[in-house]
Symmetry: C2
Subunit: 205 residues, 2 copies
Amino acid sequence: MKLSNKTVERVCRVFGYLKVLEDKGIAFVSSLDLAKAIGATESTVRKDISILELTGFSRKGYDVMLLKKELGVKLQLNKKRKACIVGLGRLGTALLDYEKFQEDGFEIVAGFDASINKIERINTVIDVFAVDDLENVVAQRKIELGIIAVPAQAAQGIAYKLVKSGVKGVLNFSPVKLIVPKNVMYLDMDFTSALRSIAARMAVC
Amino acid sequence: MKLSNKTVERVCRVFGYLKVLEDKGIAFVSSLDLAKAIGATESTVRKDISILELTGFSRKGYDVMLLKKELGVKLQLNKKRKACIVGLGRLGTALLDYEKFQEDGFEIVAGFDASINKIERINTVIDVFAVDDLENVVAQRKIELGIIAVPAQAAQGIAYKLVKSGVKGVLNFSPVKLIVPKNVMYLDMDFTSALRSIAARMAVC
DNA sequence: TATATTTAGTGATTTTTTTCACTTAAAGCT
DNA sequence: AGCTTTAAGTGAAAAAAATCACTAAATATA
């Protein structure tokens, strides 16, 4: 079972949509419906699911609850994951209390910032620390995921500290590409770059 | 000159890195340096640049200022673009004042929210409006880009209004895939899905 | 029960994207 | 000037991803 990143991303989206369907009480869903919901084609969805060695039912589609459960098992999407946010600027603090993360099994168990003043002013239920404590806290609390929301010039240093302290996944909101070991999963979320590529496509298309 | 989205995304990243280099006063950069900075290989970078019909210099690399200028022209990255943010929750308000956008030629000229109370409480220099005014304001101010930061169930409706009012690009932070006309450029920034795929890859790899 | 219909499953094919490997140009060095 | 080195440019090859087109299974229908 060799999963490409693209397949992983798509089935994660499928998983999210299955949650919605489950809440609505819908029992079966076709590959076409899934495809529309995640912005793919039906054959791609079917192939993705078959790569994961999961199956549906002829003439009925996929059993929503079953597929969700099976995807959850295969990709461990039901496992609770401890995460932390580094950089408590506007974005960082917004993320601290982003309820969707918690709903989704991501437990934000710590926030870090370089400025002590800022830490004192932040109003949240989540424990916040000075960045100097990062390595200790991440190691002690066995935090698996780091969310980087610091300015560009600080990002690589934070990534390094996170990895050193045992983090196995990094979500990077800073606009620079970070270097992390190959066994650490890494994804960029660069707003500026995103807007820029939309604008570029507006210009070109 | 047929540009794939991937090429556009990469050259946008290159553009960002060129800005950094220019600020540092670096005159030339090699494809290898660019590649490292954006997380690609040197041959990919060279191909991307050549697809844009731009060139460098043998044994010297690319002229930082020149390439930045040329990319700016080709992709109209220097053009000021008016944008608005719809949904002024924590994320939306964080985005409202995200200085990086302004630096990058994106002018956030309006914010919208469904809740009148929230609008009154928001502390920003940017004009904020009720969502009912969206179509008028977007059309009047000739806003080209819409940034959607509303809850999932409201997102498609907002996308529709934005497009109807003349927006030509949409950046979507909600966790659902939106349907927009093909001539409208569209990009998803779904945090939950992103975290989920990192977690999934942690499980699988 | 036979037939039609719907939808998943999948090998083959096509398309897209990336990488390789070689050529060429320019600069530096002896 | 001639040789060496460095880095871009590029057609060809390889790899990856997506799509197609068909098969098979299950249900509904006549």
